[in-house]
């Protein structure tokens, strides 16, 4: 089932191993794992009959089919040469997700004026080409633009800046924009 039966990406030393297509092998295993997980997650659901299908019948059937696909992929990976496993890079996914999470945790409590630059700057670290000062300035400009567009032009209920009462000495009542 591989796209490159003799493709240039297939490593030549791979032929001597039992697993000839590591990518398909891993992909198949993850599908089987998904089946197990789905069956477990839906273990309490009623199966029903064909005439009156229960909530559990279709999810279970589909989970089994997914597992079969996975098993087939694993089987194929022993028979046919295919792509090697690509390397997983950690820096990109880690910082991008960290940035997104930072946005999620600050948008309600502090507002877009903080959450916007935060996601831009934290995720910016994900790229090795990033220059900090340029990114800082750019993050502020993008956030200002978004506040103008989403809050004021489109009137979406986004909190822009929230300062809880008593945090700033000059603002005893706090601020809600």
């Amino acid at each position: 089932m591989s796209e490159h039966p003799t493709g240039p990406t297939a490593r030549s030393d791979e032929g001597s191993h039992a697993i000839r297509s590591p990518q398909n092998f891993a992909a198949g295993l993850s599908l089987v794992a998904l089946m197990v997980f789905a069956l477990w997650a839906g273990r309490d659901l009623d199966q029903g009959t064909l005439r009156a299908m229960g909530a559990g019948m279709l999810p279970r059937a589909i989970a089994v089919l997914i597992g079969l696909c996975g098993a087939a992929l694993v089987a194929v990976s022993f028979v046919k040469d295919g792509d090697p496993l690509e390397r997983w890079h950690l820096r990109g996914p880690f910082f991008v997700c960290l940035g997104i999470l930072a946005f999620a945790f600050t948008i309600r409590s502090v507002g877009l004026a903080v959450a916007g630059p935060l996601v831009a700057i934290v995720s910016g670290v994900a790229s090795p080409e990033t220059r900090l000062r340029e990114l800082l300035a750019f993050a502020l400009v993008v956030t200002a633009f978004c506040i103008g567009l989403f809050r004021y032009v489109l009137n979406l209920p986004l909190p822009v800046l929230i300062i809880p009462p008593g945090v700033l000495p000059g603002l005893p009542a706090g601020l809600y924009l």
């Binding site: 796209e3 299908m53 909530a55 997104i100 910016g124 340029e134 979406l156």
Partner: protein
């Protein structure tokens, strides 16, 4: 004539000042974001979904359709100028389009792409208007068994047309179906696979899934592959093709339009085939096929027309049957649902202004693309020079705001981050995410129709084979699957998708 009175109704809707403005804005931002390399139409539409929230449904769909065409056209622009196809259907345009650009004929390539697309758009609008009524009538004759079989056929099409391994595409569709079942079961009220977590009871939000698996995962992929942008250094040159160019392109444009339009109607992303088929056809028809790949104008004119015609006729399955044929149309379903419209045959009768207004706005959108894009080419070229290190933080800010605004829920943003990791894993394992999205969107509809069909037949599964229309659809699906697995066809399929 029925068509003309309907189209008149459509134009009276689409030509209001507000809707004209929305079509214009949609085309403009669609192109703007579509031009940025690495941001295809799917990511563009997901990102811009929230800006339609404040609008009435007609306006919102006109805006989204504009964004869709704009993003498609923007993809062709990058294909010609940078040799990076903005999306799958623009792959063919890179072959001759970029060569033309290298020879200093970038302007002509862009010009003929715009003119061909406009012509294709005009024809496709007429095709949609003409076919809408009969197909809708047909859809009303469909029972649950027929609907179920039709969707099976659509998914099989999607599998056959997906890139890479067929087995993996099937798996992706199944995963999409499984994801669509998370949440409260509408029939029995049982909570399925929610782990008692309340926000999951409504199911996984479509925008969250699409943004995570498409938008964010794409960012992660782009971060890993430092791009080599080959922006054309030569002058863009004149935009208007000469009489000679036009004469050379006329027949390819016509053939491309018909081919793309016909393939676009197929459920299951037939539109993807259009440009490939058109390119192959033009090469066959050419007196001197060796010119192809070296800047032949026919190699831009034909596929670009096919691309646009297919992009538009792929609205037909959605508008008449309520079945989205590809991931972009699946997004349109999401957008319609957000605005309280259930896509399907009843839209035309219950909501004629929306239906015909949208069709009329397709034509207007095409005209606008022609009018706004050609003078703005200079601006698009400058936009191409924005480095990715600045682009992706901006994309993330926009997307986060977008996802948060769908339900005003920070939890959605966290889910999106989780799906980004899943999408990244898919890329590493060689899974194509587009079939997953299609499976997800069709999942609920399929389950509903399957259950109904089985209730009607009293649990007899043979009902799908005994009803002639349903049996026919399933046979087509089966034949397609068998043909796709045949070694000879698989080889040419892989060649067609080889970039």
């Amino acid at each position: 004539m029925d068509i003309f009175s309907n189209l008149a109704l459509g134009f009276s809707t689409a030509l209001t000042l507000q809707n004209l403005g929305l079509a214009f804005v949609g085309c403009l931002i669609g192109t703007l974001i579509g031009v940025l390399p690495g941001v295809g139409p799917i990511a563009t539409i997901t990102m811009l979904l929230p800006i339609t929230f404040g609008l009435d449904p007609v306006g919102a769909l006109i805006l989204l359709a504009g964004i869709y065409y704009g993003a498609q056209y923007g993809g062709s622009t990058t294909a010609i100028l940078v040799n990076i196809p903005g999306e799958a259907t623009a792959v063919v345009t890179t072959l001759d389009g970029h060569q033309m650009a290298k020879q200093g004929r970038a302007g002509i390539a862009l010009g003929i792409a715009a003119i061909g697309s406009f012509f294709a758009g005009c024809v496709a609008t007429l095709i949609i208007a003409a076919l809408a009524k009969p197909l809708t009538g047909l859809a009303l004759l469909f029972g649950p068994a027929e609907y179920f079989s039709l969707m099976v056929m659509g998914l099989v099409f999607a599998v056959v047309l997906a890139r890479g391994s067929i087995l993996k595409a099937v798996a992706m569709i199944l995963v999409g179906l499984l994801l669509s079942m998370v949440g409260t079961d509408l029939e029995t009220g049982a909570e399925r696979m929610t782990f008692g977590y309340a926000p999951l009871a409504d199911g996984i939000d479509f925008a969250v899934l699409a943004m995570g698996i498409f938008g964010f995962a794409e960012v992660l992929r782009n971060l890993e592959h430092p791009e080599a942008r080959d922006v054309v250094k030569q002058r863009i040159g004149r935009l208007l093709p000469s009489w000679e160019d036009l004469k050379q392109s006329a027949a390819p444009v016509l053939r491309g339009t018909l081919l793309g339009g016909a393939l676009g109607i197929l459920p299951g992303n037939g539109a993807v085939l259009g440009p490939f088929a058109s390119y192959t056809l033009e090469k066959k028809f050419a007196k001197d096929p060796s010119r192809f790949g070296r800047g032949a104008i026919e190699g831009v004119a034909g596929p670009e027309s096919a691309n646009n015609a297919g992009a538009q006729t792929s609205f037909i399955p959605l508008l008449t049957l309520g079945i989205p044929p590809n991931a972009v149309m699946a997004l349109m379903v999401g957008a319609m649902t957000i605005h309280g419209i259930v896509p399907g045959p009843q839209v035309m009768t219950k909501n004629p202004t929306l239906f015909w207004g949208m069709i009329a706005s397709m034509w207007i959108g095409n005209l606008m693309l022609l009018v706004i894009n050609l003078p703005l080419v200079g601006m698009w070229v400058r936009l191409l020079k924005v480095p990715y290190r600045l682009m992706f933080p901006a994309i993330l800010v926009f997307s986060c705001i977008g996802i948060y605004s769908v339900n005003n829920s920070p939890a959605d943003v966290i889910f999106t981050a989780a799906f980004a990791i899943v999408g990244y894993a898919f890329i590493k394992f060689g899974f194509e995410p587009a079939p997953l999205l299609l499976g997800y969107v069709l999942g609920k509809l399929m389950e509903e129709n399957l259950r109904r069909a089985l209730i009607i037949s009293r649990g007899d599964i043979m009902t799908f084979a005994e009803r002639p229309v349903s049996a026919g659809l399933l046979l087509v699906a089966l034949a397609l699957l068998v043909v796709a697995v045949l070694p000879a066809v698989r080889k040419s399929r892989n060649e067609a998708f080889a970039e």
